[in-house]
């Protein structure tokens, strides 16, 4: 039966082998995130926010418990199904942008649409729309090394948003940016959240990001400390 939550976790546990023992990164996380939320996982390094983001993004699987993303149980997805979920429904924004250095801005943003096998005309329109959202229509031919950090992250946002995903996962998106660029990026994401009703889930400990979040989920030692 389908539910109204985009993300739902039940007693989610993730532990990693560390020498002869185990390090528990997530220790019984129960979390529900609904459609259109602008939420963030907040906590210091090692609190488990990136691990949780990776599991929600079907890049990793839980040790026990379950994470259901867009009605799909992550632990039960095989590699092809997980790739399909990411390809069709999820957008990723990374701290270090993770743009393809040898591709230009247009090609970077076009990439998710190529995976979806869209026609050339459709791709072109969608890419130009996405670049318009982030204000980079004049940089289509530029390559990432020719862009500033802020511009790179805007390209990354355009790449994450171009296919209009249901959920965008952003891992420390402003960590490498100055204050002005951070605010610009966050305003862009807030606008996209409002206009496209896309759900955003951040992993951050940056105060600049926290002040934009509508829902703040504080993690400490792999547990939810506070959800407000």
């Amino acid at each position: 039966m389908k539910n109204s939550f985009i993300i739902q976790t039940e007693n989610l546990i993730k532990s990693f082998p560390m020498g002869r023992s185990h390090f528990t990164a997530l220790n019984g996380i129960d979390l529900n995130i609904g459609e259109g939320e602008f939420a963030g996982l907040i906590g210091p390094s090692g609190s488990g926010k990136t691990t949780l983001l990776n599991i929600v993004g079907s890049l990793d699987s839980p040790t026990s418990g379950e994470a259901t993303v867009l009605n799909q149980p992550v632990s039960k997805l095989n590699a092809r199904q997980a790739a399909r979920l990411r390809k069709e429904k999820l957008g990723f924004i990374f701290q270090s942008y993770n743009l393809f250095a040898v591709h230009n801005v247009f090609e970077n943003v076009e990439f998710p649409l190529l995976l979806l096998n869209y026609s050339g005309t459709r791709r072109r329109k969608m890419v130009m729309d996405a670049l318009e959202w982030v204000g980079l229509t004049d940089k289509v031919k530029s390559k990432p090394p020719q862009l500033s950090g802020g511009e790179c992250q805007r390209v990354a946002i355009a790449r994450a948003m171009v296919k209009k995903p249901s959920l965008v996962l952003a891992d420390e998106p402003t960590a490498n940016l100055d204050a002005a660029n951070s605010h610009h990026i966050l305003k862009t994401m807030v606008d996209l959240n409002r206009e496209l009703n896309t759900t955003f889930l951040f992993a951050t400990h940056d105060e600049k990001v926290i002040m934009y979040l509508k829902r703040k989920i504080y993690l400490k030692d792999g547990k939810i400390e506070k959800d407000e």
């Binding site: 590699a79 790739a83 990411r86 390809k87 990723f92 270090s96 993770n98 393809f100 990439f111 190529l114």
Partner: protein, 391 residues
């Protein structure tokens, strides 16, 4: 696959100099392999054509006792011309040859020679036998350039030859060199003296006898003739096939080394790519690729080097190969002493099959070499790859 090709193309073009260095190394392999193979094919063609034109014709009948490698059989290897060949001999489609072992004394020295009686009017071979049709104070003779050099004889020079007639009696006479020919088949040249057939028949007391017959038409069915062994053209040129086979084996080692060097560059690039592009690999997976698809992408990228190399080869290789086919490859040293049918200048012959097979082999090897290190991606943890952590 279409997407992998598109992305691989973008990645390779985007990688710039690194791609083109590999491509140039690989293209060099293409051109050298095609050229060297072309030389072998050209040599094969040339050697067989030369042997046909100078030594074997369209095939031969040998006297059953004749062994070209044993001069001591020559005294026994002759017989009257069989009536079955009369008509063809009359029309010039078959020519008789008489072979006698003898000795020449050029300028007081002594050398063993093979004296061959040949019809001055024959036109099956390119030998300038018409130069034997002359009136002179001595027996007219033609020799090849190697024989001329070895015997230190020139046109117009006289020398004494000695032979044994059919009864075993020694006899001697003067010969005069009326022409010196140059040919690429050393067995026609070295140690051979050509004189008129009728003269040799009368000198040796073997009137109307011959050692072998050469016919022009290799396609015509030939009857079995008692006392004579039929040698087809392919049998007579088998030595060339064997020689080419031996040389080809040697060349294969050279190709393998050349390919290994090119493949080492590709392998090195692939291994470096997988280490250096961890974050990119993680991003591919995050955006919706499976690890298997990323392996495919990297393999296509590697294999595409071979396709680019084929194109680059076409740019500079086609003019080069065409030029070599036209001007030929001249050996850096005199090849007349090599003892095999080889021209001073070899003209490479390229076929579509040669080019296509070379491209396919290089493409296949490049694909395998590209896939080999790429398999590591299948074992990568995408979350660690995203952070650029070396795995």
């Amino acid at each position: 696959m279409k997407l992998a090709l598109k992305l691989a193309f973008r990645n390779l073009i985007g990688a710039g100099l690194r791609t083109w260095l590999n491509v140039i190394v690989l293209s060099f392999s293409f051109v050298v392999i095609i050229f060297m193979k072309g030389v072998m094919v050209g040599w094969d063609h040339q050697a067989k054509t030369d042997m046909t034109n100078w030594e074997t014709g369209g095939g031969q009948y040998w006297n059953e006792n004749y062994d070209p490698y044993d001069p001591f059989t020559f005294s026994e290897s002759h017989a009257p011309i069989p009536s079955e060949l009369d008509e063809e001999i009359r029309t010039g489609e078959t020519e008789p040859f008489l072979i006698v072992h003898g000795t020449i004394y050029p300028q007081g020295r002594m050398q063993s020679v093979t004296i061959i009686g040949i019809n001055p009017d024959q036109d099956i071979f390119m030998l300038p036998s018409h130069k034997l049709d002359t009136i002179s104070d001595a027996i007219p003779a033609i020799i090849g350039s190697i024989a001329a050099r070895n015997m230190n004889l020139g046109i117009g020079d006289h020398a004494t030859i000695r032979w044994r007639d059919v009864k075993g009696m020694f006899d001697a006479a003067y010969i005069v060199i009326t022409d010196i020919f140059s040919c690429n088949v050393p067995t026609v040249d070295a140690g051979k003296i050509y004189i008129p057939l009728q003269k040799l028949q009368s000198m040796s007391g073997l009137d109307n006898e011959a050692t072998l017959f050469t016919f022009r038409d290799s396609e015509k069915p030939r009857p079995d003739i008692s006392g004579w062994t039929l040698k087809t053209k392919s049998e007579l040129t088998k030595s060339v096939d064997d020689l080419i086979k031996t040389k080809t084996t040697g060349q294969t080692v050279f190709y393998v080394i050349l390919l290994l060097l090119a493949m080492l560059a590709i392998f090195d690039t692939q291994v470096l790519s997988i280490f250096r592009r961890q974050r990119e690999i993680g991003t591919y997976i995050a955006l919706g690729y499976t690890r298997r698809e990323v392996v495919g992408l990297f393999t296509v990228e590697g294999a595409m080097h071979a396709l680019f190399a084929a194109l680059v080869s076409a740019i500079y290789g086609l003019p080069f190969l065409a030029w070599m086919a036209k001007t030929g490859w001249t050996m850096p040293m005199d090849v007349s002493d090599y003892g095999m049918a080889i021209a001073q200048t070899l003209y490479p012959v390229y076929s579509a099959g040669l080019v296509v097979s070379t491209v396919l082999i290089v493409l296949l090897v490049t694909t395998v070499v590209s896939y080999w290190p790429s398999r590591k991606i299948a074992k990568m943890n995408p979350t660690e790859a995203l952070r650029g952590k070396i795995q």
